[in-house]
């Protein structure tokens, strides 16, 4: 049953010459799970806001075309911090119901049911501002469920969350769709998380819907036009010159087995010849010995940490939320005092926090870099142009950094640190909120920076990123370093901390982590047979 129909819709934001949406034709059926993909600036966000009339009621602007469908649409936004209004969870869920003037006795029931469905009964009396990002998003979804909306639009709800919270949110969406038949309209960047849930994919570019169809045919469409929007399994197979590209690991493993059987590959777990890490030949730049730290003198956040970081390496630090990763890098950066143990750092430190907006306040990109130089008392500003060119943002030199896209903002923030020529560069969750293309760009920039004698430490949840760009990986668990070593040692032995490609090849060769490794492996074996 059709519940929403958009015909020939074109929309302009106030004072904009170019339309944000162009000739949109879309009809949505009850119970569909629709995934909307596209680059930033493609109009996804604007389209998402058409359904509950934020556009144009809220923003004004010019609109042409027709919108049919009069059901209330629930909306969940990207930033968990900015969509909760009340101070207690229970009150937050009731807030929408109060607004529509529901009687109290019905309200109680709705709120209780929502709490139970989302399994968040235990936090109903908690302060909303003390919740984790994942819990906040759950509450935001709950607020919409309580209102009785059975059509939910979610605008990148997991982009600010870590993988396990993201997975939880996706599970909730799946349950809403499967168990209750709700219609879900999901806008996402990280395709792997949600591709398997969708039964229809939309792709937007320059304000137009350029693809609308089934996931499987999307694969062949994207294979031709948008390789970066393939799920990572399909992305890999797209390089192999195969007709039917598998969607997921299950299908992928079948195919791999076929290839291997056909060619009689060596399936031993022998480590294929990879670049050997040359730990011993390098000199240490950071040494931590028996470090203990606690914020409140009660519970240790860091427990007996011994860590050596070598010159010119890229080290990935991974671990669950609250495991002490962030504390550890703050300690390395010299932001924490009152720790016990020995900290030796042989060089200057640059630090890029999770949110590039924390850096940007000057009127131009150039001034942003100059600010750091002035603080450090460096007179020679030729380095500014050099760094801007290196990061490919020279063209924005005189633009306001706040007007740039998120990927560009991050590069400006990075540039504002790199002008100090730090010996050690620390990045905290640099891939959060970026799409695949931007992540690769960032990784290549890091490889480039490393060439200039810089040591890089990356704290991240992003296994794919680590497997592609890091040399060594450290796993942190409960304030202790559980394992540290070359990425081929660390990322191949776990269940959670491993890549999609690794899951594909496990059993055939456990040491395949990235697409390059996989192609390498298939290639070598072909040579043998």
């Amino acid at each position: 049953m059709e519940i929403f129909k958009i015909r020939d819709l074109t929309y302009y934001y106030p004072q904009e010459k170019n339309p944000a949406l162009k000739n949109i034709n879309l009809s949505i059926n009850e119970g569909e799970f629709i995934l909307l993909l596209g680059n930033s600036g493609s109009g996804k966000t604007t389209l998402g806001r058409i359904f509950n009339k934020i556009v144009p009621e809220f923003y004004g602007g010019k609109i042409k075309g027709n919108i049919y469908g009069n059901i209330e649409v629930g909306m969940v936004f990207q930033d968990p911090e900015r969509q909760l209004v009340m101070d207690k969870v229970e009150r937050e869920l009731a807030f929408g119901l109060e607004n529509i003037g529901l009687e109290t006795k019905y309200m109680k029931k709705r709120v209780m049911e929502t709490l139970s469905f989302l399994n968040i009964d235990d936090i109903k009396q908690s302060n909303t501002y003390e919740l984790s990002g994942g819990q906040k998003q759950k509450v935001a979804i709950g607020a919409m469920l309580a209102l009785g909306n059975n059509f939910l639009v979610l605008d990148e709800p997991t982009s600010q969350l870590d993988p396990s919270s993201s997975a939880e949110i996706m599970t909730i969406l799946k349950r809403l769709n499967d168990e209750l038949g709700y219609t879900i309209f999901l806008i996402e960047q990280k395709i792997d998380r949600c591709f398997h849930l969708a039964d229809r994919i939309l792709f937007m570019e320059n304000g137009e819907i350029v693809y609308d169809g089934e996931p499987r045919s999307f694969i062949s469409w994207a294979y031709r036009y948008k390789v970066n929007f393939l799920p990572s399994i399909s992305h890999f197979f797209s390089k192999l010159d195969i007709k039917d590209i598998p969607l997921n690991i299950k299908e992928g493993r079948k195919l791999i087995k076929n290839i291997i059987d056909k060619n009689q590959f060596l399936t031993s777990n022998k480590k294929i010849k990879m670049k050997k890490s040359k730990e011993n030949s390098l000199s240490p730049i950071i040494e931590l010995k028996k470090i203990n730290f606690s914020y409140d003198n009660k519970k240790n956040v860091l427990n007996n940490i011994n860590l050596t970081i070598y010159q010119n390496e890229i080290l990935g630090l991974m671990g669950a939320n609250g495991s002490g990763k962030t504390t550890l890098i703050k300690l390395i950066a010299g932001l924490l005092k009152n720790f016990r143990g020995k900290r030796l750092v042989n060089g200057s430190i640059g630090y890029l926090s999770q949110n590039p907006n924390d850096y940007l306040f000057n009127d131009t990109v150039y001034e942003e870099l100059k600010f750091t130089l002035d603080n450090k008392g460096i007179k020679d500003d030729r380095i500014i142009e050099e760094i801007l060119k290196q990061l490919d943002i020279y063209k924005y030199k005189n633009k306001n950094p706040r007007d740039l896209s998120s990927g560009e903002k991050q590069r400006v923030a990075l540039a504002s640190i790199l002008v100090m020529r730090p010996d050690i560069l620390i990045l905290d969750e640099p891939t959060r909120g970026l799409n695949l293309e931007l992540i690769d760009n960032l990784g290549n920039i890091l490889l480039d920076i490393r060439k200039k004698e810089t040591t890089i430490i990356v704290v991240t949840h992003d296994v794919e990123f680590v497997s592609k760009f890091c040399d060594r990986v450290g796993l942190i668990f409960n304030g202790e370093i559980a394992q540290i070593g070359s990425k081929y040692e660390v990322l191949t032995s776990g269940i959670y901390y491993s890549t999609q490609i690794n899951k594909l090849f496990r059993g055939y060769n456990d040491f395949v982590l990235t697409e390059d490794d996989a192609i390498n492996f298939l290639h070598i074996n072909k040579g043998v047979s």
């Binding site: 806001r49 509950n52 934020i54 009621e57 809220f58 209330e72 909306m75 936004f77 930033d79 911090e81 900015r82 969509q83 909760l84 209004v85 009340m86 101070d87 207690k88 229970e90 009150r91 009731a94 807030f95 929408g96 119901l97 109060e98 607004n99 529509i100 003037g101 529901l102 009687e103 109290t104 309200m107 109680k108 709120v111 302060n127 909303t128 501002y129 003390e130 935001a140 607020a143 919409m144 209102l147 950066a333 932001l335 640059g350 630090y351 926090s353 949110n355 907006n357 924390d358 850096y359 940007l360 306040f361 600010f371 750091t372 603080n375 450090k376 706040r402 504002s416 640190i417 100090m420």
Partner: protein
């Protein structure tokens, strides 16, 4: 923390506040102060009392010292100086010391009544109460609470970022200090303005302003609320009578006078009614803990 109806606690505390301002008679002031202190102790919040007194002790001591210095009234001279810088010739009298002490007590009363108020009703109930009558203001306040929490976390993070970009926050010169703080303030300023649109979208999505609002929590007057409001009413009556008979007043100058027999009787009546509240609070507290055990 008690769970009185917010209206009850507001009326009681406003009464205490204005009684303190109106009465000059130290006996009344001491009675009110004792009431607040004992009430707070019954509720079991000694620490909040100590905290606020620590915070405002300088103000109180200042008042106690200031009055004798500037008031040249009173006849019972304790100390005399022919010249003190700025003040000139001064005399310190017993009456002015008593006056200063009384004012100190009054300020203490007014300070502690705010603490007392915060202990009588739960914040949630206060919110619900005001939401009924002042719904915009309560929503703005609770949004502001959320924003303050978020921004105080942001502040810390941005400060770290700026330290590592070479900003020195340990400036002694006030203008240099202002300059050091500038990036932080500007960043949270811009970021939170951007956030304000997002929050407005969220309000819109929650259908705020779409219909006449109802309330999730319904506050009920309990037995204790009726009881305390009964004494509130009696206190207002007493207040009017005392005002007409000039009983709450006391003249410190020219010499301290004795309290009259009528005054003392009246004080007794006043205290009897006021301290009934303590009995109610004690009973309520005990009854509540008994109930929770079952």
């Amino acid at each position: 923390m008690l769970k009185l109806h917010p209206a009850t606690s507001i009326i009681l505390c406003l009464l205490l506040f204005f009684l303190t301002l109106l009465y000059n008679n130290p006996l009344y002031i001491i009675s009110i102060l004792l009431f607040i202190v004992i009430g707070t102790l019954i509720i079991g919040e000694r620490s909040s009392l100590i905290k606020v007194l620590k915070y405002s002790k300088f103000n109180i001591i200042f008042l106690i010292l200031l009055n004798p210095l500037i008031s040249q009234n009173g006849r019972t001279i304790i100390f005399k100086a022919s010249y003190v810088p700025f003040l000139g010739r001064i005399k310190i009298t017993l009456e002015s010391i008593a006056f200063g002490l009384n004012m100190g007590l009054k300020l203490t009363c007014i300070t502690t009544v705010f603490v007392f108020y915060s202990l009588l009703s739960e914040r949630d109930d206060i919110f619900s109460f005001f939401a009924k009558y002042l719904n915009k203001l309560t929503i703005i306040s609770s949004m502001t609470i959320n924003i303050i929490h978020k921004l105080s976390i942001d502040l810390k993070r941005i400060k770290e970022v700026m330290v590592l970009r070479g900003v020195n926050f340990n400036q002694k010169n006030i203008f240099k200090k202002v300059r050091a703080v500038y990036p932080i303030i500007k960043i949270i300023f811009i970021s939170s303005l951007e956030g304000s649109l997002d929050r407005a979208e969220a309000l819109h999505s929650r259908l705020y302003g779409k219909a006449k609002r109802t309330n999730y929590y319904i506050l009920r007057f309990r037995k204790i609320d009726y009881m305390i409001n009964m004494t509130n009413l009696l206190l207002i009556i007493i207040f009017i009578i005392s005002f007409m008979l000039n009983y709450g007043d006391y003249d410190f100058y020219p010499t301290l006078r004795n309290f009259s027999y009528h005054e003392l009787i009246f004080l007794l009546v006043f205290n009897f009614i006021l301290y009934l509240n303590l009995l109610f609070i004690w009973w309520y507290k005990k009854w509540k803990s008994l109930k929770s055990e079952i």
